[in-house]
Amino acid sequence: MFGLRVIAPLLLVTSTAALAVGLGPLEKSGVTATEAKGFYLTLTNPYKQPFRFRTFVDEETPALEGRVRIFPEVALMAPESNRKVLVVVRDLVPGEQVDVRVCAERIEKKEVVVHARVCSKLSARRVGTVR
């Protein structure tokens, strides 16, 4: 009976930085005269090893039906490096404002205890009068 209740070695024990991600700015807004507005975000890999990161539209953002494109969505980052990520909000109609939350995180191959994520609030507005 006791044997059935022995618990296998539990979880992950690490003594070094296991998870990290950096993103900025955390808030950005912009006005455009066209149907698309782009934002540059800076993604940071603070590790001393290369890792893959993904950038995505946060699930809390109302459905935007494919109107937000991210380039690249997945990036292999060199150690302790930064890179630009382009976020484009498309199909803006005159006078429309679209708010979107874009997040970045490291792609994990295993379950982790505290999963680190950084999110940026972006607001794109097209000039003109709402029809």
């Binding site: 618990i7 539990l10 950096g22 700015p25 955390l26 940071t44 999963h115 994520r117 940026s120």
Partner: protein, 153 residues
Amino acid sequence: MLKYLLASAVSVAGALTFPASIQAEPINFRATLLVSCIIVVTDGALAPNGDYTLLSSENTGGLPATATVTALGGAPRLTFTAPTITSSADVTGVTPQIRYVSPGGANQPYTSSQTTYNQSGLLGTYTVNAQASKPTGFNVGTYTIGTVLTCSG
């Protein structure tokens, strides 16, 4: 001589009354600081209590997780999602909890709900503990309690 005096007078008057040739350009230094956030996390470990009814990072053999949040240009908002537990064993009905503290003032008691904390300084170090209880005892398996720490503006 008169011509010389007249020319000199015109010259002096010109220098005094037409200072347009003096250029004054301001020298400015500008910087636009944007808020960014970097999170570095170390994982923790869970350990059972004596009768295997409580898995906790605060039991002997357990280890808390730590999260270091560096915010440049402003104070961020941190969100810990409601913790989840996953296992190869049955965890039906088991509700995991986390708690966290920081020298900067965060002091969240054990909770199974999502919590938010507004970091006041540029640097925050958080110690995160996790636990889950099962009155009938945990069976053989590997257990993971997880939460998502989100830094946002």
